[in-house]
Symmetry: C3
Subunit: 267 residues, 3 copies
């Protein structure tokens, strides 16, 4: 059995060698930053919400990312057709329920999608994952009001219900699927001060899912890479602005030595 | 009576302690950058134009920012319902009439909104404010063709007509409401070469309005913070690209000493 | 006859002196970054897809950029009216067929526009230009799967068919129109790892077209400036994140000495 480092390195090399297309229906806050993160790690991003081209784009994609940050009708309309095409083609789907709990629309939309489709990975913050699992707790905007550890039971329940991997991002990331679970430590306290780094983790889940059919391993790889790159970036950053730029540089440069030195996964 | 520095520090500490949600219906050029500025200063941004969730999101927000940079119908449709919900809930509203004077649509849209609703703060460049006040002068795109000082009388008239605070951004910022007015100096000549720093000032007006019910004080705080952070950033920047990044770092780091050293307000 | 350096310097000075408005109907991945590039070079960007204001905005613009990165209906609807207004007003039009070949919609949309309107400059990567010229080859997402040199014959054919300048961006850029053609060398291998630098080249074509009525010269100027600025930025960058920021600084600072030292054009 491969160690985590070996597994993640193998996937990282596959991303860099194959440049898988990651199709994203995503929000207009993070189109640019998640595209840059995908390019930095070695994937080939395409962003669209044009329903007419969804089936064709899914056909050339290694993964589909559905991010609910912009819940306007013109974005939502593309999601069901894209997800159906992905299921038909065997393309893994990553769902990011941005702001679940903050409004009825942001809660009902991901619940509806999960009821109609099979997800590979669901990634959110503690408030979002707890909302989807039916905790009844609300959220306050798109930033979490709960801690990762509070969400652990809810994440496990959500993962079982939908037979998918679930990621709860936070100071420590939690990854779970079936009986497997892991906590990923590292990163930087500055990271929540940069918009869309959660969405970036979701995008990287797509890149890893495009080369690894095991959703738990793919999600773990994405979380580790975010934490390691965030830590590398924070060492060069003077604040959240410079952090974001150094993060892309770190995603681009990140190699075996960085993973061996910095990976902190608890089972 | 508090000095300007004391007032702004108190508001800044309140933003950082309470992390108020600032809901923005804004343009697709600046979603990412204004979200980052809001996070850097300590607020919690949410961007949406989904009409179905406006009332709910207003209900968890400390301020509503309506920015007219993207005047497409799917964005405009959310503005009246959001603003009505804000009025009902007592949530302050900041309006940015981007490009007023550049097209009939960009002139008529903010005039219509101001006729139907009560604004807390209106922030624009000289051309935009003069257009709203009925100067009859045109604009050339979204960059101002007039100087701040030319707009002073118009700004005062607009502030009286709508009983709100008005900000004219420029080499010197002008803030006025009723009999009060102030000029804010500082910043950097590089700032107009970064897209959306006017929109960023608008977003910060929202953050300050969320913690200070006095629109004039909130607007003054936002202008001062932009000028001080811009000046701090310019000292580290080699051009407009690096300026933008250092600006977020400065917004994040900005403290009492920076304000005391750099604040330049003329009454 | 002017040398390339003299010609490009003259145009660059004109852009910086006149600050021409460049109207862009563009994709939501690059609104911010292309606006920043236009501001850095000295132009005045305005981004819109509001059909009601297209004719008015074209009337104050020096060039119209139509970028097909977002092929959603609400964006497409503005393109024909804007282009017709530009033809009527004598405003040059630059077309970027993002992802042509990746989906039927992304192939048919630019072909339809080119059949109905007169383009000044068409800029794409090798896959996109080959697709428009009818090579029958597909693309894989928005990143090219072909090399610039493979596209040379197709670019020439496309330029003849539409009597416009055609740019094929790549490791070397190819610019052609009628009997004239040039290869532009330079830049950095990091550039394809930053999203939207092709769209940035397109935007700069708009800035140069606004001051130079010769489409070939305008396109050549934009390509040279991208290659030179990219090379300057790469010397300061540690990866794709920092590269993007230094690129704006370089576009802002770029002067005669930089052009004389770094320009590499082959006829």
């Amino acid at each position: 059995m491969l160690t985590d480092v070996d597994q993640i390195l193998r996937d990282l090399e596959a991303i860099r060698a194959k440049n898988p297309v990651v199709l994203s229906i995503t929000n207009y806050v993070v189109t640019n930053t998640t595209a840059n993160a995908l390019l930095a790690i070695g994937a080939s991003p395409i962003m669209s919400h044009a329903v007419e081209e969804m089936a064709e784009l899914v056909g050339i994609s290694g993964a589909l990312v559905i991010n609910l940050g912009t819940v306007a009708q013109e974005y939502l309309a593309a999601m069901d057709p894209a997800w159906s095409a992905a299921e038909a083609a065997g393309v893994p789907v990553v769902l990011d329920p941005v702001g679940a709990g903050a409004s009825t629309l942001r809660t009902q939309t991901p619940l509806g999608l999960l009821a109609r489709h099979k997800a590979g990975i669901v990634r959110g913050n503690a408030s979002e994952i707890m909302t989807l699992a039916g905790s009844g707790g609300g959220a306050r905007g798109v930033d979490s009001t709960a801690r990762t550890d509070e969400a652990a039971g809810f994440a496990g329940e959500l993962a079982r219900r939908h037979a998918c991997a679930v990621v709860v991002s936070g100071e420590a990331d939690l990854v779970c699927q079936g009986a497997a679970s892991a906590r990923v430590l590292g990163g930087s306290a500055l990271m929540p001060r940069v918009t869309g780094l959660g969405c970036t983790a979701t995008a990287l889940c797509g890149a890893f899912a495009a080369v690894n059919p095991n959703p738990f391993e793919a999600a773990l790889g994405a979380c580790v890479v975010m934490k390691v790159a965030g830590e590398m970036a924070a060492e060069k950053a003077a604040g959240p602005g410079t952090l974001q730029l150094h993060l892309y540089d770190a995603l681009y440069a990140l190699g075996e030595k960085d993973l061996r030195q910095r990976l902190r996964v608890e089972r």
